[in-house]
């Protein structure tokens, strides 16, 4: 039995997008971060909810690791990554006493924190809330889908890399989406080829074509391929704005295209 959604802290959030993958290390956090940066560049207010409790990557990617989380009347105040307060972030990373401290929790405790993240963070007015998830189809994913269901998320971006061992896991993630009634906005193929900076030869380091084939097999849109770019990796390591800093990068057109598809799919205009 589902109670009617109490708007609460998500009342001001226009669109919710989940970023999923059955496979680890394919770039969910990268795509979540770059999507948020690209949407910000399009003038939107974006929140990022990082529900990867064991491996919270996003604080460092936005150069806000170590920041404290404050309380207000409505709950926790998310951390703003810029002065204009156009991107806000909540992550378990902010709640750890030491950065190397391991969160060694079983499922029920993880579920409880995810519920709190959804209901007790004072997001305020947001155009988009991007939810970054850990790999798999388990506690965190069921918790976040169940808790967000009353707020009708826009859907899921499903990230893969081209090779068979990733596609094999991501197929299962698409099955998960179907089973829990979560719409798939589309598949993104990350780490799709590497252009040698010395000779411009393109090598398919992680094979090729798997993402597009997967999207076709599952009958969902294919949103594009993002190539490997050490500048992108470096930007994430150093918390720099890749979208602003590297418009010439081979990864830029693909990332912009994905953001544009979201903007077209779920426009936020003047109301």
């Amino acid at each position: 039995m589902e109670a009617a959604a109490e708007p609460g802290n998500l009342a001001g959030v226009r669109h919710i997008i989940l970023v999923l993958s059955g496979k680890g290390g394919v770039g969910k956090s990268t795509i979540s971060t770059e999507l948020a940066l690209a949407l910000r560049h399009a003038g939107k207010k974006v929140g990022i909810l990082d529900v990867d409790l064991c491996g919270p990557s996003i604080p460092r990617m936005l150069q806000v690791q170590g920041k404290a989380v404050h309380q207000c009347d409505s709950g926790w105040v998310p951390v703003f990554v810029d002065q204009e307060q156009s991107i806000s972030l909540m992550s378990v990373g902010f709640l750890l006493e030491k950065p190397d401290e391991a969160v060694v929790w079983r499922g029920p405790k993880k579920n409880a924190l995810i519920k709190q993240f959804v209901s007790d963070v004072a997001w305020g007015q947001l155009d988009y809330l991007v939810v970054d998830t850990p790999p798999g189809t388990s506690d965190e994913h069921m918790a976040v889908v169940d808790t967000l269901r009353p707020y009708s998320p826009l859907g899921a971006l499903v990230v893969t890399t081209p090779q068979a061992v990733s596609v094999g896991d991501v197929r299962r993630e698409l099955t998960f989406c179907k089973k829990v009634g979560l719409r798939v906005i589309g598949v993104v193929e990350n780490m799709s080829g590497f252009v040698c900076p010395h000779c411009a030869e393109c090598t398919n380091v992680f094979s090729r074509g798997g993402g597009e084939e997967l999207a076709r097999h599952a009958g969902v849109p294919f949103l594009g391929s993002v190539p490997l770019d050490p500048e992108l990796t470096r930007s994430l390591e150093e918390g720099r704005d890749f979208i602003r800093g590297f418009p010439e990068s081979p990864a830029f057109p693909a990332l912009s295209c994905i953001a544009q598809k979201i903007l077209n799919e779920a426009p936020v205009g003047l109301s």
Binding site: D100, P108, G136, S138, D169, R171, C196, T203, P230, E237
Partner: protein, 334 residues
């Protein structure tokens, strides 16, 4: 245990069976009686079962996608090159079981016998078990919460008839959660030699791997060493090296020095591994002689001697080095 309420306080908790969320749970009586907090009898059963397994190694990483399964497969093949060494590879990544695909064993089924489940044998001396063998379709998703995953891991350790094994390699999912706690808990009485931890050079991996090392310390699991995977890429055309995943904070070398854990080796990015998966040949690079048709082969063979690549070992050589140091550390007197 069957499905538990979403807000289950945990069977070991002081609130077990007594909390508001316990109302209506089929296990409420069990927990309230304190039976849930008693040691699981399976731990002793697994200890008995593991008496025929000489060495147990967990392959861990805080981070996903760094090559745990690939390295586990390398290790299993490398150890099994000696026909007299019995090797077992157990895949406890319940949601994302990669090992069947990597070993070229997709579609294989597990059989039951009087003495338990039979692993799938790739070679006479190399047996494999994974939840992947229990799924009827590649699209089947295993959407299980923690307690059910734990039950599966318990079954794998207790009910698989491994026989006499020299090395049991346990491939794990990323993170520090149910699967990892269960593996350590169920093997607690059976003595685990230790963990090999896989990382890639960049900080976004290392920050998770430091947590994994902290987890190992917390649960008193010895760290045999760290392997840095995807450590450099040599362009097959111009043969120049690029760090696709740059070690902006010094890579595994600096982390290992800071945390005082051994660095077992560095393995470069090699597209050949990926290509072989796609051909359904499974992964196999012989440690003695890799005569693939990749244009980078001459570079890889000479990697040790050529000046721009002195720090870049070929997959073949790096794995052999890691294997050497791993065996050396396992067999060191206490």
């Amino acid at each position: 245990m069957e499905e538990v309420p979403h807000d289950c306080p945990g069977v070991g908790s002081a609130q077990a069976g007594r909390g508001a969320s316990c109302q209506g749970c089929p296990n409420q009586g069990l927990c309230a009686s304190g039976a849930g907090a008693a040691p699981d009898p399976a731990i002793e059963e697994i200890k008995e079962k593991m008496k025929t397994v000489k060495h147990k190694i967990l392959v861990l990483s805080g981070k996903g996608g760094v090559g745990k399964s690939t390295f586990s497969a390398h290790l299993a093949h490398g150890l099994a090159e000696d026909e007299n060494t019995q090797v077992a590879l157990l895949d406890i990544d319940i949601c994302g079981p990669s090992i069947p695909k990597i070993m070229g064993l997709e579609g294989e089924q597990v059989h039951q016998s009087g003495s338990g489940w039979s692993p799938v044998f790739l070679e006479d001396n190399l047996g494999v078990m994974s939840v992947g063998f229990l799924l009827s379709s590649p699209d089947d998703a295993v959407i299980w919460r923690g307690p059910k995953k734990n039950g599966m891991i318990k079954q794998f350790l207790r009910d698989v008839d491994w026989g006499e094994v020299d090395y049991l390699i346990v491939d794990t999912p990323p993170g520090t959660s149910d699967e990892h706690l269960s593996a350590v808990q169920y093997l607690a009485a059976a003595h685990i030699d230790g963990a090999v931890i896989i990382t890639t050079p960049q900080e976004v991996s290392l920050q998770d791997v430091r947590k994994e090392i902290s987890f190992c310390h917390k649960v008193k699991l010895p760290v045999i060493g760290v392997v840095e995977n995807m450590s450099g890429f040599i362009c097959p055309k111009c043969q120049k090296e690029t760090q696709i995943f740059p070690p902006t904070t010094g890579g595994a070398e600096v982390m290992c020095h800071d945390l005082k854990v051994p660095l077992l080796g560095k393995v470069p990015l090699d597209p050949r591994i990926v290509i072989r998966f796609r051909l359904k040949a499974g992964y196999r690079i012989s440690l003695e002689d890799s005569r693939g048709r990749c244009p980078a082969c001459p570079v890889y063979r000479e990697a040790r001697h050529s000046p721009p690549c002195t720090r870049l070992l070929s997959v073949r050589v790096a794995t052999k080095d890691s294997l050497f140091w791993l065996k050396h550390r396992i067999h060191q007197p206490p």
